[in-house]
């Protein structure tokens, strides 16, 4: 682009191309993304009563091994040892030599393609599953774009928390009805899928059809973790009320030593204040009127408390800058004393730190209500992650894929579970005194969940390599379980009409703005008014209708 050559046409086309490209990008990707069948009726709403009973698979539990720590009040059972010998739950090879493309999320490093783990599992399956794992932190955007296109993998995993906006509508349009293969007695053909509890299957009903393959979740899946080793060194006692938590923060934050008491604790602060969960469980009954989460006093109290933590400067600045992806690193590095995470990461962190920092000792805080009493913990949905099968697959391919999924869903203590979760003995783990220990290669290839997403056995806490973690984890969950309560519409998969898709999203920004000192708690009122006017009250009626026709799910 030298100034001396007046090549007008080329400049004009250059300009045209940039301006047009901008408009085209802004317009999304419609043409490349066109196609898709005609709109199907009955996408929205929920399914209950007889219609639901007719499509749910029969529950046939397989008790292959007894837990060392039995579950109480619905808490997950714990296994500290690996059963010897391992049971077999699938006879023969389930696959027929087919090849399936899969789309799954991943947190951390993507394993190499064609690695020994994939090869071994595919061989055992008798079919080839090709993975293309996508970053779990940006999966929401990815999935929205992929589902709008026509090139959808044969089996797609979608976590429940990624089903914002129109994703549930997309599920209804793009994925196969598995009812003809699994409803009622038909599931007995797949014994490991029949072993999945009914609640998890109920969550897998989208738009009146059984479409999902569930990954059952524990009754409570999030915790505040603390560094017992560091707290002991400081002589700190654990807080048992909101005030004590704030005092703890003030006492043990030492910015000069690069140590802050807390990371972003919002998820569990909500639990301390008995706040309702998110869509579609964000309603409670006040008399006979439905009240939304954002209309409750608890919502304001929880935000006001979170704001206090901000004002007291006891939250790590990088967490305040929304750098959530590094929360684990801040915690293991001693930058924070407490952080919030899914309980699933407990074992991963413990095993990761075992070599690097033998002192490292993380524990989960017993949850309390803000005033120091017993908390109200709303139960997590019975299934949190789902996989779906592309509706364009022919019947035989769907049957083959379901047979593979049945193999993958084998429960703890089976040869199949061992292969899926640990890989090949000698390559991915070694057994010492009956305890499987992952090798470095096992950590790279077999540890990140891939196949596991397709469907899982009922949730258990089974880490024979870290029996201490099992005891702590199962004990913690058993202590929380008595406080667990079912929210309204529990276990129901509700597909909201598209016109309400963007109603709730501004509150995600608003709560961050309030918690991080950019807006006032009182700004909620205006936002709630806008919400009501732009469809909130209609949405309330819509849910009241579901409540009347389909029941509360409790």
């Amino acid at each position: 682009m030298t100034p001396n050559s007046p090549s007008t046409p080329s400049r004009r086309s250059f300009l045209a191309s940039t301006a047009v490209a901008a408009a085209a990008v802004a317009g999304g990707f419609p043409l490349l993304a066109a196609c898709g069948g005609p709109a199907q009726g009955g996408k929205e709403g929920a399914t209950g009563g007889k219609a639901l009973k007719a499509i749910l698979p029969k529950y046939v539990p397989t008790n292959l091994s007894d837990p060392d720590i039995p579950g109480v009040n619905g808490s997950s059972a714990g296994y500290t040892k690996l059963p010897d010998p391992l049971a077999t739950s699938v006879k023969g090879t389930p696959g027929k030599g087919g090849t399936f493309k899969a789309m799954t999320p991943i947190w951390g490093t993507v394993p190499k393609k064609d690695n020994a783990y994939y090869t071994a599992v595919n061989k055992a399956l008798g079919a080839t599953v090709r993975f293309d794992p996508q970053d779990g932190n940006t999966y929401q955007e990815k999935i929205g774009a992929v589902l709008a296109g026509s090139d959808i993998a044969d089996i797609v995993t979608i976590p429940g928390w990624n089903m914002q906006g129109q994703i549930r509508n997309a599920v209804v349009s793009k994925f196969a009805d598995l009812g003809p293969y699994l409803s009622g007695d038909k599931v007995e053909k797949y014994p490991n899928l029949a072993n999945i509890p009914t609640g998890a299957w109920q969550m897998s009903v989208f738009g009146g059809k059984l479409r999902g393959l569930p990954m059952p979740s524990p009754v409570i899946g999030n915790a505040i973790f603390y560094r017992k080793d560091l707290l002991d060194g400081l002589g700190a006692t654990l807080p048992t009320s909101a005030d004590e938590l704030l005092a703890f923060g003030r006492e043990y934050t030492d910015a000069r030593r690069k140590r802050w008491a807390f990371d972003d604790l919002w998820v569990c602060i909500q639990k301390m204040f008995g706040l309702l969960p998110d869509a579609p469980h964000y309603w409670q009954l006040d008399g006979d009127k439905l009240v939304h989460k954002i209309e409750t006093a608890e919502y304001r109290e929880a935000l006001a408390f979170a704001r206090k933590l901000h004002d007291a400067r006891v939250v790590h600045p990088d967490a305040e800058a929304n750098k959530d992806a590094d929360a684990k690193i801040r915690f293991t590095g001693g930058g924070t004393l407490m952080y919030n995470d899914g309980t699933g990461s407990w074992h991963g962190l413990a095993s990761e730190q075992a070599k690097a920092n033998p002192e490292f000792d993380m524990r989960a805080l017993d949850l309390f209500s803000a005033d120091g009493g017993k908390p109200v913990l709303y139960q997590d949905p019975p299934a949190g992650v789902f996989s779906f099968i592309n509706k364009d697959l022919p019947k035989e391919r769907i049957e083959e894929l379901l047979a593979l999924v049945d193999y993958i869903a084998a429960p703890y203590g089976t040869k199949e579970f061992q292969l899926i979760n640990f890989g090949v003995e000698g390559t991915h783990y070694t057994t010492k005194d009956g305890v499987p220990v992952r090798t470095d290669r096992g950590i790279q290839e077999a540890q990140p969940a891939t196949y596991l997403f397709f469907a899982s056995p009922p949730h258990v806490i089974a880490y024979p390599d870290f029996p201490e973690v099992v005891k702590e984890y199962a004990g913690w969950m058993a202590r929380q379980a008595p406080h667990v309560r079912k929210p309204l519409f529990f276990g129901m998969q509700i597909v909201e009409p598209q016109r309400y898709a963007s109603l709730y999203t501004p509150f995600d920004d608003l709560q961050k703005d309030i918690r991080r000192g950019r807006k006032k708690v009182s700004d909620i009122e205006e936002a709630v008014n806008t919400w009501k006017k732009s469809g909130g009250d209609e949405l309330r009626k819509w849910y009241a209708d579901i409540l009347e026709k389909q029941g509360s799910g409790r």
């Binding site: 400049r11 317009g27 898709g36 955007e141 906006g165």
Partner: protein
Amino acid sequence: MKDLELARGITRRQRFLRDRTLLLMTLPAVVLLLVFNYVPLLGNVVAFQEYDPYGAGITGSPFVGTYNFERLFLDNRFWEVLVNTLVIFFTQLVLFFPLPIALALLLNSVLNDRVRAWVQGIIYLPHFFSWVLVVTVFQQMLGGAGLIAQQLRERGIGGFDLMTDPGFFKFLLTAQSVWKDAGWGVIVFLAALAAVNSELYEAAAVDGAGRWRRMWHVTLPALRPVIALLLVLRVGSALNLDFEQILLQRDQVGPGAAEVLDTYIWWTGVRTGDFGYATAAGIFKGVFSVLMVLLANKVAHMLGEQGVYSKR
């Protein structure tokens, strides 16, 4: 000009035959342009639909007229976003745009080729860093737990956090852009400077012009067409801020300061699934940008410059 006069004497067909090789050579580019720029443009039709990408698609979604545009223009958030976009753009225009020119003049005055090559290499380098990396570096330096804040704390002075300050955000963005791209921006100006006939400098020097006079009367006039051209292009893409840079830092300061048109379109479209609405916002952006280019080009013409295109 002589060619042109000759060309007038021949018919369109003769011209076509004469230029056929050249025309054939442009064909791949034209096809690419059509397929990837013009054909997707048709997708803008979803702005007039209640578009359901997951079921009905473009052909099946119902038309709703200008409903999406009405929603857009009645939405307070949209106007806030537009203001944010323009504020950030003008901050960058004023604080960023002159820097590469100044740097180019500075580098041009360095006579030692080796030193010049080194400096150029170093200031180009950040251009090749991804935004993720740039943002992380800034967080590690200027964040609340960053190097500078931590040094201050150790000396008993209270820390600070420039990364989460909504008022500072537009300057933060500019600082990041300067660090990343000011060096890269120098290239065009250096090329223009290299094209200046050195006899002009000699002649000016003989006439007794000093350093400043030479810069004012020789160097800057030589740079004027490039500056005008780049300015027009920059204004034309005023609403096109660095999407990735802002998206990465949006939740750091909240949408009040950081939501710009591109992130808003992304948020409402890809994230929430309100594609019709997002496309309406995209069309607005496109039209607005074209108007800005025309305006800036007009101004360039009035100043006697050629601008991006000129009338024949």
